[in-house]
Symmetry: C2
Subunit: 285 residues, 2 copies
DNA sequence: ACAGTTTTTGAAAGATTCCTACAAATAAGG
DNA sequence: CCTTATTTGTAGGAATCTTTCAAAAACTGT
């Protein structure tokens, strides 16, 4: 469904390209937007190769020809990574930083959307459905993600709770047993307290699901990891986007659980929704 | 900066087009994706007009020519049309629902990015900077948004706090004075308790910033409203996206505040970041 | 209704862009 | 060092696009 971003594909293929192909790749990657606007002749000249080389390059990446390639490239650019410096500039005014922050969030979401392992998602949904109890743990910014998850998952009639207190987390982890699921959220996956809690939980036979950075200590110790690789905060001004990616992944998981429950479960969700109606001003006034 | 979707533009212009132009428009709108893949000759034939007519049509919509038009159309399709009918289907499997949920979040973010009033953002940044105290209030899902905001804004050395308890909110609102800012987050803007709290706060001379739906009771009573219009949840399975949009808006506001503080404030942020280092496993092990 | 004017439209030729066949050049293998 | 395979470019042809210009249609006022 979601072909991965063309730019990523080219970047990944870079090492396996031959001389003229990689010249073409360089030119395209250095300014993909310009590439979509130039003719095959211009691009060939810029790369210092012949037109057919550019054409062959395009075909290598499953395009019918150069125009088709440009089309696909243009599409990738829309919600794909904007390579151009879209970092917040200290001199930016509202018109500058507002779209940049939205864009960077959108880009990261698109990245993860194309990279996330669907089989892992499935595995996690399985575990959540079978769980006797689910604990959502997180600290700091991930604490509010955990809280949001609780708010979402309690609707499934599962015994869910959420804790952003290290001591509570430790105690609960140590009393966990087989069938309990500890869903641990951490941006870095390197916070000692959090990793220790995961260790304790696993030692007691509980399952640990890590929503965290790949190859981190937390990822290593989890039963299943949902990898979220969000580019490091190079820019002092850019906010941390991983929280938001985490939230969306939790949305995905919740949807997975709902669908697995089947349509006979919908009335239950409806009931919860309706329970809030009396607290609201009606729409027509 | 962010031009509106080409498809919408064409649809809007439809009534003002002449005979052959509208024929072309019809063909394009009926299957925009096919249009991006066909040549000017094919399209002309399909529409029953001449090639130059198609060309003129393209130029009318600010394209350099037909190829350029196709490019722009293709771009619009990525974040535009996909919107339609990308609802989660009860029979979807992981490969189905995962990208859909990411897409719907991304689309909503893009929508708000293009719609949000920059001058309002500026106003709110002003108020936040001048505030004697800032309270972030929210209930339910908005409660965790408020918590996230607290986590973000306390770094600015401002007296910030966060409350997701109605009684606390009421009491604090009633003791507020001029110079206090109550930042109230609500998806619907119609929860009675929340609106009442806003009323109390305003009655005592405090400023109320509403991050909520436009034209809602909460929006009406706020000093400044940041409108977030996220399409109603028509689909039972689609998760609520407004939380995420709210978070990103708070990121924007935080960035605004940081920039307004100027570069001499960066060391302070750095200090907070570094305070967490000892709690982490280092990256090289 | 009709001549004059403006607008809309398409035929045809011209310009551009793209693709294919083939041969030269380079690299790899024995 | 020769053979074979791969890579690269030249040249010409094919397709696509654009412009010009004149015919057709629509509009205007008389």
């Amino acid at each position: 469904m979601h072909s991965q971003n063309l730019i990523n594909i080219i970047t990944d293929a870079l090492p396996g390209l031959n001389k003229s192909e990689s010249k073409v790749a360089q030119v395209i990657l250095s300014d993909p937007d310009a590439a979509t606007r130039s003719s095959i002749a211009t691009l060939a000249k810029k790369a210092g190769v012949s037109e057919p080389s550019v054409n062959r390059f395009c075909k290598r990446f499953n395009a019918a020809g150069f125009p088709d390639f440009k089309l696909k490239l243009a599409k990738s650019l829309v919600s794909g990574i904007r390579f151009v410096n879209r970092n917040v500039d200290p001199n930016d005014d509202v018109d500058g930083y507002t779209p940049k922050i939205f864009d960077s969030t959108i880009n990261n979401l698109a990245l993860v959307r194309d990279k996330i392992s669907h089989s892992r998602v499935n595995q996690v949904v399985d575990k959540l459905i079978q769980a006797k109890r689910i604990y959502f743990f997180g600290l700091g910014a991930s604490g509010s993600v955990a809280r949001d998850a609780e708010n979402k998952f309690f609707r499934f009639n599962l015994p869910v709770s959420c804790h952003d207190d290290v001591l509570m987390q430790r105690m609960l982890a140590s009393t966990g047993t087989t069938g309990d699921v500890f869903f641990i959220i951490s941006h870095t996956g390197r916070t000692k307290e959090v990793v220790e809690v995961a260790e304790i939980a696993r030692a007691n036979g509980s399952a640990v699901i890590g929503l965290t950075a790949p190859k981190s200590p937390l990822a290593d110790i989890s039963s299943v990891t949902l990898d979220v690789e969000v580019p490091e905060n190079t820019d002092e001004y850019m906010p941390m986007t991983s929280r938001i990616v985490h939230l969306v992944i939790l949305d995905v998981l919740a949807t997975g659980v709902t669908l697995r429950r089947g349509p006979e479960f919908l009335p239950h969700l409806e009931k919860i929704k309706n329970s809030l109606k009396p607290t609201r001003y009606s729409k027509d006034n």
